[in-house]
């Protein structure tokens, strides 16, 4: 009996050429087709290896926004936690957190608008609110967070005595700093985490598969990079008081541990879908990024806690490592996801319920 096309295809990759001699000798058209020199065969689950879905166009602007938005969210939230639960010694942390959030949030919309096909229509995002679209809710969340972050930074400046005596400073001084921080932190956490949900709510195999893990990974990374940014700012300006920074470093250890845990869970859960992330060109960046940006800083922090104190240089170097790691994490997750969307087998594995 002649092999069926499926049987032939099973032995062939998509688009491979099948020598004429291997083709069935009988059946309709067999003789006529012999005039052809080659024929392409079909493997199950592939139409000539063409992707059945389209990947997003997002490039470095979006990666950088995910990174800066995360830092702003983490720094602002940790500042609020330090303000509410800490004491006088933690005042520099609060101040640094507020000052770091604002510039990150000033750059973010520029990046997002630059990414649009028609940047001058960016305000079309503000026509509607759509609960099921993380892109829509994220726009509003970012807008709200930016407003709170702006007011918080202004209030902090006024509290430090900037522009003393002038009416703008008097006005800013009357702002309810603690109230702003608490309300703003809700939107900060939203901005830190929604980006992961936004990626999951697509057909991209690597992201969709990790629907329970991508948001938690991003919010953990937001808090770890936010803590690192505050530590870096304080160490670089000579305000790295050990007593004050210990609490922040404990929070950072927690965030880094959570980040590593969720990343490991992603790798296990995604299985073969995680291949573009763990191997190839993104793997060669991702794996060192995890070591440099998460494992090593975590070990250094734990070591510092056991010793009771850390050096200024140590703090600066590990903070830079965490920040770089956060950037690499988002860069590789975005680009490896795009690669997974190019793979018909990856998408069809999902849509077969495998």
């Amino acid at each position: 009996m002649d092999p069926t096309p499926q049987q032939i295809a099973a032995t062939q990759g998509p688009g491979t050429t099948l020598p004429v001699t291997d083709r069935p000798a009988s059946g309709p058209g067999a003789g006529r087709d012999a005039a052809l020199t080659t024929v392409t065969s079909q493997a199950r689950g592939s139409y000539y290896g063409i992707a059945p879905i389209k990947k997003p166009h997002w490039q470095w602007e979006i990666v950088l926004y995910f990174f800066l938005g995360g830092i702003a969210a983490g720094a602002y939230t940790l500042a609020t936690i330090a303000e509410v639960f800490g004491d006088r010694r933690h005042r520099p942390i609060v101040r640094a957190g507020r000052y770091i959030a604002l510039p990150c949030l000033l750059i973010s919309p520029v990046l997002l608008i630059k990414d649009l096909g028609m940047p001058r229509r960016f305000f079309h995002m503000l026509r509607i609110v759509k609960l099921k679209s993380p892109m829509s809710l994220g726009t509003w969340g970012l807008l709200a967070f930016s407003g709170f972050a702006g007011l918080s930074a202004v209030a902090e400046l006024a509290a430090q005595g900037f522009g003393r005596g002038g009416w703008p400073a008097r006005l800013a001084g009357r702002l309810p700093r603690r109230g702003l921080g608490r309300a703003g932190s809700f939107f900060a956490l939203f901005v830190g985490g929604y980006t992961g949900v936004l990626l999951s709510a697509t057909t991209v195999p690597l992201w969709a598969k990790n629907k329970y893990l991508l948001g938690p990974t991003f919010i953990s990374s937001a808090l770890s990079t936010g803590a690192a940014a505050i530590t870096l700012a304080l160490a670089a300006t000579g305000q790295d008081d050990d007593a004050a920074l210990h609490a922040l470093e404990e929070a950072e250890i927690l965030a880094l541990t959570s980040e590593l845990g969720f990343l490991a869970a992603q790798g296990v859960h995604a299985g073969p879908l995680a291949r573009p992330l763990l191997t190839g060109k993104y793997g060669t960046i991702f794996v060192p990024g995890v070591v440099l940006g998460m494992v090593w800083p975590l070990l250094a922090q734990l070591h510092g806690i056991r010793r009771g104190r850390r050096t200024r240089r140590g703090r600066i170097v590990t903070s830079l490592g965490v920040l770089l790691g956060g950037l690499i994490l988002r860069w590789t997750l975005v680009y490896a996801g795009k690669d997974s969307a190019d793979d018909p087998a990856a998408y069809f594995a999902q849509t077969r319920g495998e």
Partner: protein, 297 residues
């Protein structure tokens, strides 16, 4: 030109009054009679003023279009099956004209943050070119890989607040409109009009579904048991994961994946709530942990 039931031509001025029924409309693409002529691709490009995709020869089949795109809203797939001949049907080629599915619950529409993507009175899904700002989120939100960003010239007749007439706009999201501008005037979409074998049929969705069911039974009776419907009604392949019946559905003769269609796709928005809940719980746990750290010190 459109003809009335008795064969008389209808003046263009009367067309506007012709179909305001607002009944759900759709496509039934019966691939068993597709001859791969690509008239649908050409008619679509002509009516919608879509630019050429250039001359790229794939070398793997007669399919040089390869997939739907921002500038190609009908795509004829060619699947060669050496030696798979059937008496009474095509011998060893499968051909299928793919198009936007106009899903009952459309991922692109739910993802769109500007409201550019709308549900029309015909239950079809249309992108408003003058609202879209090219954020691109609808592109990975489509379970069928239909929507794509493209910088297309705006036809000179299109007037809008942006005054883009005659310019190249975008890249913005584009896809099949089920010829909204024709259907609203009671004319069938360009691809269906051009199809010489009625492989592409346009009409009221209920009538199309009934016709398609009869066609499958007919093919089964004629000894083609592999014929089945993709996306015609709830439970068919292509309608899973909350997507629901497709307003553009297909009669297929091999597995969906053979035509590059997913068997059991999921609506991406199913992942939104689980994602938010998991993220909120993580944020809560980490926030509490950080609060404890600051309180102890």
């Amino acid at each position: 030109m459109t003809q009335s039931a008795d064969g008389a031509f209808i003046p263009i001025s009367d067309l506007a009054q012709r179909d305001r029924t607002r009944r759900p409309k759709g496509f039934f693409t019966d691939t068993s009679v597709c001859i791969g002529c690509k008239a649908c691709e050409v008619a679509c490009k002509q009516w919608n003023a879509l630019p050429s995709d250039g001359y790229e020869y794939t070398g793997f089949s007669y399919d040089n279009t390869q997939h739907l795109s921002g500038s190609t809203w009908r795509h004829v797939a060619f699947v060669e099956r050496p030696g798979a001949g059937h008496a009474g049907a095509q011998s060893n080629w499968l051909m299928a004209s793919d198009v936007c599915k106009h899903c009952t619950h459309a991922g692109c529409l739910q993802a769109c943050p500007t409201g550019a993507i709308i549900r029309t009175e015909f239950n079809t899904v249309v992108i408003q070119e003058d609202v879209c700002n090219g954020c691109g989120y609808c592109v990975p939100a489509c379970p069928f890989g239909v929507v794509e960003l493209a910088a297309l010239p705006v036809p000179a007749v299109v007037q809008g607040p942006d005054s883009l007439s005659g310019q190249v706009a975008g890249p913005l999201a584009h896809k099949c409109t089920l010829c909204y501008d024709r259907v609203v005037d009671g004319i069938e979409p360009a691809c269906a009009k051009a199809c010489p074998t009625d492989s592409i049929q346009f009409g009221d969705i209920d009538e199309l579904r009934a016709r398609a069911t009869r066609r499958v039974a007919d093919l089964h009776a004629k000894g083609i048991p592999e014929a089945y419907l993709y996306g015609a009604q709830e439970g068919d392949p292509g309608t899973s994961g909350g997507i629901g019946p497709l307003n553009a559905f297909f009669l297929l003769l091999d597995s969906p994946e053979t035509y590059n269609l997913p068997d059991r796709p999921q609506l991406p928005q199913n992942n939104v709530l689980p994602g938010y809940v998991a993220t909120a719980l993580t944020a809560l746990a980490l926030g509490l942990g950080a609060a404890l750290a600051f309180r102890r010190r």
